[in-house]
């Protein structure tokens, strides 16, 4: 469970990114976070994955107070969270298989288990046939699938996708969202999608949290109520 209590964030340069945010997200939920550029969405993600510390309030993820984590403990915490970005961020000199395997090597997974899990997630994101291709040989949608496979390889409890469809056309965007829904269903992963693409939310209605100017301006349950 994610619980954000009275969280405010002010950066060192004086920018106020979030004001007194309160949110609760249950396990295995599928949530959209929408809002215009500069609304504080990215800050919210950074608070969740431990990259930033809240100026006020607490961020509790799976019972862990993220803002109070020691620097050296952040990596261990982060294994609970997978993050996917708009620009994929794959290692260009590694194949799709190696990119996914990388996430498991880093956490010291045994070799056999590693291979098995990589095949499994590549199959889950439906890109097994491209496992030996380098990122440059893949389309945007395919690269995003590899990035998603990498993010879920460690079986994180939470998957955060920051504008996952930002660089994709509507059809490919639709496929990616379907894939995330499938992961939500099959792996019971909590999914947080940050987006400003309202079309996606319309076609795949789920709980939607709207942020503007650092405030939560709407929190609508599935179906828009």
């Amino acid at each position: 469970m994610i619980s954000i209590k009275n969280v405010s964030k002010t950066y060192h340069n004086g920018t106020h990114a979030l004001y007194d945010i309160n949110l609760e997200i249950q396990d295995s939920e599928f949530v959209y976070i929408v809002g215009p550029t500069g609304s504080g969405k990215s800050t919210l993600i950074k608070l969740l994955d431990g990259e930033e510390i809240p100026s006020k309030g607490e961020v509790i993820v799976q019972g862990i107070d993220v803002g109070k984590l020691k620097h050296s403990k952040v990596p261990l915490y982060r294994r609970n969270i997978g993050v996917v970005f708009q620009d994929y961020r794959l290692l260009p000199r590694k194949t799709a298989f190696e990119n996914v395997a990388y996430a498991l090597e880093v956490v010291d997974a045994p070799k056999d288990e590693l291979r098995k899990r990589v095949r499994e997630v590549l199959k889950l994101v439906d890109i097994s046939d491209k496992s030996n291709a380098f990122p440059s040989e893949l389309s945007g949608g395919q690269q995003q699938r590899v990035a998603i496979a990498r993010a879920i390889a460690n079986r994180p409890k939470i998957l955060i996708a920051d504008e996952p469809t930002g660089n994709l056309d509507p059809k490919k965007s639709d496929e990616i969202i379907r894939l995330l829904e499938k992961i939500n269903r099959e792996e019971k992963t909590t999914i947080l999608i940050v987006t400003h693409d309202i079309e996606i939310v319309r076609h795949h209605p789920k709980r939607m949290i709207a942020i503007d100017n650092g405030h939560v301006v709407a929190d609508l349950a599935e179906g828009g109520n």
Partner: protein, 299 residues
Amino acid sequence: MFHRFFRHIKEGFIGVGRHFGMAISSASAVMITLVLIAVFVILTWNIQTVTSTIESSISIVASIDYEAESESSRSNIETAIKAIPGIDTVEFRDKDEEFTYYAEMQGEEERDFYEQYRSSNPFHDVFLVSVEDGLDIQEITSQIATINGVYGVYDGGTNTYTLVSLFANIRIFGGALVIALCLLATYLVYNTIKITIASRKDEIWIMRNVGAKNGYIRAPFLVEGVIIGGLGSLIPIILTIVLYYLMYDNLGGSLFGAFTLVEPFPFILYVALGLFVTGIGVGFIGSYISVCKYLRLRR
């Protein structure tokens, strides 16, 4: 565990390969500083040997009062001298030996001239005192002078003090220079690794993102730093060994015939080993500081 260890080593080598030009330029910078370090170590070591030979030959001569020549007062004086801290050896020479010692320093004719006075020998019995540290000589001399039954003390005066403090300064200066050069080499490696890190920012970001611990991220860069430092030490090691042997042979083992050079074996091997360890050390420390600084800025 081993698998992971070797992966870090491998990644380190790959890293060096990827930034080969930079690694080489940094290794050559390390090389130049190590050559300078080698030169200064060899210089100071040789000076050290020369000076300690000279220093150990400096001794204080304490002459004994004619009235205190009895066995018992002599041993009292000896005990008193030995009680002073910093004394190395105390040697007794009676007035007859003193007479011979000085007579033999003269020419043949003068010696005969001196010999006729042996019966009325004007010399004193003396203690020859050598000290552990040349810098203490003045202090010890004045302490010996206060001992009952000591007639006079001679240590060579101001010339000795100047010489001894000059030697000490040379040693301190050499040591300081070597430390400064080590710091310089560390800084050079630090900078190289900083650039390497900048060019691998994305990779580090991904590592952090999938939950790699700091040590895991650090390891390949440390290996890289060690490789650069090790590479940088190779040529200085070879140069040092070859040139020192050549110099030693050509000069016949001494400088201006007066100062004996330190024998190449095993001295030069120690220097070589020292250079290797220094190279690796500065590589390790330089890259460690660099990576830590980068990692600390990010959570």
